[in-house]
């Protein structure tokens, strides 16, 4: 493993901190989902989720900030589940992030490219 200024764990944690909630919003863009489902989808992305439990307080925060709303649905076998969906405010926040992210990613890519060409 090549040397990194910051350990890989820390690096991932830093990058994750800014983006995780927007990934949650993005996952809700297509359809409403419940907690377990969201965790599963995020867990499929390598490095995205180290602490599955923190998704639940995160969802509460997004609810409190008005970015998502939730409703209870009966489930086929077991207790009712809380389903989350994007609010219009959440859609706007996500759109804003996507724009910023693409700009930021482009800028970082350019800087990284620049070093290599030299």
């Amino acid at each position: 493993m090549q040397h990194m200024v910051v350990s890989q764990d820390k690096l991932l944690a830093q990058m994750r901190r800014g983006t995780l909630e927007y990934c949650v919003l993005a996952l809700l863009r297509e359809e409403e989902r419940y907690g377990f489902d969201l965790v599963r989808a995020l867990a499929e992305v390598d490095g995205m989720l180290t602490t599955e439990g923190t998704i639940y307080p995160l969802l509460t925060r997004l609810r409190r900030e008005g970015l998502v709303s939730s409703s209870w649905r009966e489930s086929p076998n077991g207790p009712p589940r809380r389903y989350y969906r994007l609010t219009p405010k959440g859609e706007r926040a996500l759109a804003g992030f996507v724009e910023e992210w693409q700009r930021f990613r482009g800028a970082v890519d350019r800087i990284l490219q620049g070093r290599r060409e030299r």
Binding site: P57, L58, T60, R64, G78
Partner: protein, 184 residues
Amino acid sequence: MTATRDRLVEEYLRRLDRALRDLPRDRRREIVQEIEEHIDQALSELGSPSEAEVRGLIDRMGDPEDIAAEARASLDLRPRRAGGLEIAALVLLAVGGLIVPFLGWVVGVVLLWVSPAWTWWEKLVGTLFTPGGLSAAFAVGVLGIGLALPAGAGALLFAFLLVAPVASVAFLAWRLRRAEPVAG
């Protein structure tokens, strides 16, 4: 195997509950319940999970302290740590007036209002009960300062001046232990 798995899960949920102890009760219950349901569902999908699988699942849920930290952030909780400032405030509110007459208590009041740890009305209670702290009781009871009251009323006042500052400081100390969502 089910017994072991139940025990492991119970133990984890208990640790989680403890880590969340400074949160409002309904928030705390909600998180523990959501995570318990999550674990239940994950286990049922695994069918008959081995102990290793159960441990792995619990590991993936994460350290209760991390979850608690995220929960506190999600509620925008005011830090309620009893730091030096808070302790000094409480001590001076109670007995500051006895060390440096009146001024000692005033410094306690200043520290009280400067500290971020209490709400506006908590600070008001701490200030109004009782001006001077215990030194007021001292002034009335020992020095007999300027009160022409019948003996019964005087004793009552003295008792009040003794109890009120202690009660209000105890109240402030108690409030420190409970983190609450910031209203403003």
